[in-house]
């Protein structure tokens, strides 16, 4: 198994064992669909094999995994948009994609989780990284390639929306 450059003992397999759950949770929080999350998970770690030698240490690997997972989910949303383009004659055969979205939600009884899953994807990513991975605004900005002010604004908007939704639920 290929290894990290600076830490010869650490292999891609050890990275998946350590950060597998982190990547999977981020993917699920983003796509709200276990099937797509599975695909994203696989893609991220296959990419890791190609780039593991460029990574300096475990922290670098963690940051790399978060960045690549976000990129893969963005790609997924692009593909998903394209998949939903059907000719007018075929509209009756359009699969009910919303059912896919509900798959995860149905398994989650917690109102907070339900509220988060209803946020727009870009807000969900920020909320997940900030509240679950406990990354700073600066770190999130660096990993997502956004300005710190943009991340702050997204978190602010997400909090407002959550307050509104949780108020309704309660």
């Amino acid at each position: 198994m290929r290894t990290i450059k600076a830490e010869a003992e650490i292999t891609a397999e050890e990275i998946i064992d350590r950060y597998g759950d982190m990547v999977y949770r981020l993917a699920v929080s983003q796509v709200r669909n276990r099937t797509d999350a599975d695909d994203i998970f696989q893609e991220v770690f296959v990419r890791l094999v190609r780039h593991v030698q460029d990574l300096q240490d475990m922290e670098h690997a963690k940051a790399w995994l978060i960045r690549v997972t976000i990129n893969c989910t963005k790609k997924h949303f692009g593909l998903y948009r394209n998949k939903n383009v059907f000719p007018i004659e075929e509209t009756e055969e359009i699969p009910k994609k919303e059912e896919d979205f509900e798959q995860v939600e149905k398994k989650i009884d917690n109102p907070v989780m339900q509220a988060v899953s209803k946020l727009p994807p870009k807000y969900r990513g920020c909320v997940h990284l900030f509240y679950f991975e406990e990354l700073s605004v600066k770190e999130i900005a660096k990993m997502t390639g956004q300005k710190e002010s943009t991340v702050k604004s997204q978190l602010h908007r997400a909090r407002e929306m959550l307050k509104e939704m949780l108020g309704d639920i309660s």
């Binding site: 397999e13 998946i16 759950d21 999977y24 599975d38 696989q42 296959v46 989780m113 997940h128």
Partner: protein, 174 residues
């Protein structure tokens, strides 16, 4: 809210099946990479064709350039040789000093026959010799032709004044 979210999310784990499947995919990817490494980097056909085209272009351009510059060099040499021949043909006339400290040139050369340029030229008699005098069309320098003792002579000079020329010629013929 934060605690609730963390508690719920922490319950999500990668399914074992997916983990194993992914590890298998990683091993396959690694094998593919090492196979590529063993066989060397595959260069796309487009790159190869571009390199070949550039090489052909160089092969054509270099000899063409060399022959072009050689041609220029040869023509330069030819020009130099031509100039040398011209100089040889137009050798400097003998310097004949006229009078005291005279610096004016007068050259007398024996020739086979009368040059065409003296046909119809003005004739003058210096001593007992008939001399045909004419001027060079370009420079205006005076020149002459005369016969003496059955031999023909051509005179060239850097004189433009006829009196001076005749005077110099008179001295030469004496």
């Amino acid at each position: 809210m934060k605690e609730q979210y963390q508690k719920e999310v922490s319950q999500i784990h990668v399914p074992k099946e997916l983990l194993e499947k992914t590890k298998q995919a990683m091993k396959e990817e690694e094998q593919t990479l090492s196979r590529k490494k063993m066989t060397g980097k595959v260069i796309p056909f487009k790159k190869i064709s571009m390199v070949v085209a550039a090489a052909i272009l160089l092969l054509v351009m270099i000899p063409t350039g060399i022959s072009f510059f050689r041609g220029m060099d040869q023509s330069e040499n030819g020009r130099q040789m031509q100039m040398q021949l011209q100089l040889e043909n137009h050798a400097e006339p003998e310097i004949v000093k006229i009078g005291q400290g005279g610096e004016k040139a007068l050259s007398v050369k024996e020739v086979d026959r009368m040059p065409e340029e003296f046909e119809g030229a003005d004739e003058t008699v210096i001593g007992d010799i008939i001399v045909r005098v004419t001027a060079d069309e370009k420079t205006g320098y005076l020149k002459a032709y005369f016969e003496r003792d059955g031999k023909a002579y051509a005179v060239t000079s850097k004189l433009t004044d006829l009196g001076e020329f005749e005077e110099a010629l008179k001295k030469e013929l004496q």
